[in-house]
């Protein structure tokens, strides 16, 4: 089968790989119908996630048709069209029982700090992902969800990560009616976080980025204020000024380790790898939030070493909340929102690119070429 194949930093190609097999009685094999490239794939693409091995297939946002199921699979059957949450979760461990599906303790042997994620290095379990014609889906009784009748697969594929992650970012912000919410990062997740902030009753939603076309997109899609940090001077001072010198009630970091905007962070984090990526967006979030405010982090950071202004967290009495989205927990509510037209995820998709052209797709997305917001890869066997 054809699959995306990682060859090293900034080098990927589509090549022939063996078909995935049932390796556990709760496995399913799906024929992939849609798979997206995600902003967090760029951390892998740039070579900044440790234990990203050459030959791996990325892709944690996909939908597919069930081709084969293991002997213990009861919740889905051959022929079902399913959306597959990016977290691999057993449903049995103490964390799954708390609905923390992003923190499963039975899906990632290589690290305890993060659960298993499709196509996300060995640090997240060593699973091949969905940027392929076929994918192995473990714990098929837990994650995969049959796409509701009448739902567009383009909407469904964004329910695997972007929508729940954006929604949970807003939820973790503990937004109260009338709150001012600032989202750092106008990528798909940041845009969705801004959009969802309104659902929690935000009074004002602001998004900060440095790419004008993304800001324009966010302004239209999420009906929020959007500012280019290259034009507003120090973004922290700007946020203070525009909130009557108080700071925002809630700040959301939807950027993570690839952040631009601060030379020191760029050099130590992204060039010299002295810390696990640049923490610029997190600095801005901590320093722009009101005293007693909440910082919600969904941007992906690498393991263990980051230079975080923890002194300001203490002095300002900030609550920090962060997690991988618990997709399965949120799905019922979000499916409802999509069906009622409250959320329109597929509007984020700007590019449809054949899997064969995966190298170009990564370049277009990572270099922000051609006004790309969200690319979806279509495999030759998608059949739709």
């Amino acid at each position: 089968m054809l699959a995306m194949n990682y060859r090293g930093p900034l080098r990927v190609r589509a090549s022939q790989k063996p078909m995935p097999q049932i390796e556990h009685p709760q496995d399913a094999i799906v024929r992939v119908t849609r798979s997206c490239i995600c902003g967090s794939d760029l951390h892998l693409y740039n070579g900044s996630v440790p234990d990203t091995r050459v030959g791996m297939t990325f892709g944690h946002e996909f939908t597919g048709i069930v081709e084969e199921v293991g002997s213990e699979v009861t919740k889905i059957k051959v022929g079902d069209h399913v959306l597959v949450p990016f977290n691999i979760a057993c449903g049995e461990c103490v964390f799954c029982k708390q609905e923390m599906y992003g923190n499963c303790h039975e899906s990632n042997p290589q690290a305890t700090a993060v659960g298993g994620i499709f196509g996300y290095s060995h640090t997240a379990g060593g699973y091949n992902g969905g940027q392929a014609e076929y994918a192995r889906v473990p714990y098929a009784n837990v994650g995969p969800t049959v796409i509701p009748e009448g739902m567009d697969p383009d909407d469904a594929v964004l329910l695997t990560d972007v929508v729940p992650t954006g929604y949970q970012a807003a939820e973790m912000g503990g937004i109260q009616k009338g709150d001012t919410v600032v989202v750092f990062g106008a990528g798909p997740v940041g845009i969705m976080a801004a959009k969802c902030s309104w659902l929690f009753g935000a009074g004002r939603v602001i998004i900060i980025d440095q790419v004008d076309y993304r800001l324009e997109f966010a302004r239209n899609y999420a009906q929020c204020e959007a500012y280019n940090f290259n034009e507003i001077g120090d973004p922290v001072v700007f946020m203070k000024k525009t909130t009557d010198w108080m700071g925002a009630d809630v700040c959301i970091d939807a950027v993570g380790a690839e952040a631009a905007g601060n030379a020191m962070q760029t050099i130590t984090g992204r060039k010299l790898l002295l810390q696990a990526g640049s923490a610029t967006a997190l600095h801005w979030a901590i320093n722009s939030v009101k005293k007693g405010g909440i910082v919600s982090i969904v941007g992906v950071y690498g393991p263990t070493d980051n230079l975080v202004p923890i002194g300001n967290v203490l002095n300002k009495g900030i609550t920090i909340r962060a997690n991988q989205a618990s997709v399965k927990r949120l799905l019922p509510r979000l499916i409802e929102h999509v069906q009622n037209g409250v959320l329109n995820p597929k509007a984020l998709i700007t590019h449809r690119i054949p899997l064969e052209e995966v190298s170009d797709a990564y370049r277009i997305f990572s270099a922000k070429l051609d006004n790309c917001i969200k690319p979806v890869l279509i495999s030759p066997s998608a059949g739709m």
């Binding site: 060859r7 080098r11 190609r13 709760q26 060593g126 939820e171 909340r321 370049r363």
Partner: protein, 166 residues
């Protein structure tokens, strides 16, 4: 303070998920006594270990299910095995993994050549797309590279001449 209008009628679904007790909603509200009982849940069926799986020393075993995408191999694999003797809390775990990743890239090229594939690095980097959508950027980059290269050549030529005492 800027004027905050209280009319959100243009935003579909405004406030429908508002919850005054959303502070913090999750995961605290779902906590139970399970986590006080340690590693005691009924484990799912165990996946047979048909490939070498490294596991964090912060857990006693391999998880019930794991990925089998690319087992450790070669020099990079040896480094990875050593890295997994250190905890996730230790630089001695993460830094060797990053080093192993870099070595693995070279191993990948060797493996390609061995199987008769000459990796088309230009294509793998998606330069076709860059050329299509950002031609001026590519040209600028090439020009800068050429100027720097010319500078080096000119400098060393001049140096040679100086050394010969012209």
């Amino acid at each position: 303070m800027e004027n905050i209008t209280n009319d959100y009628s243009h935003i579909k679904g405004w406030g429908i998920d508002a919850d005054p007790k959303n502070d913090p909603t999750y995961p605290m509200k779902k906590r139970n006594n399970g986590e006080h009982m340690g590693y005691s849940w009924t484990r799912p069926t165990l996946q047979p270990e048909t490939v070498e799986v490294l596991h964090s020393i912060e857990r006693p075993n391999v998880t019930a299910v794991f990925g089998t995408s690319t087992p450790p191999s070669g020099l990079s694999g040896m480094i990875r095995r050593l890295a997994f003797k250190k905890s996730e809390n230790d630089y001695g775990h993460w830094l060797p993994l990053i080093l192993a990743d870099r070595i693995n890239v070279v191993e990948g090229i060797i493996e390609d050549l061995r199987s008769g594939i000459v990796p088309n690095i230009f294509a793998e980097k998606g330069m076709k797309a860059e050329w299509k959508h950002n031609r001026s950027g590519v040209i600028r980059q090439m020009a800068v590279t050429a100027i720097i290269a010319y500078g080096f050549v000119a400098f060393y030529r001049a140096k040679k001449r100086r050394d010969r005492g012209y």
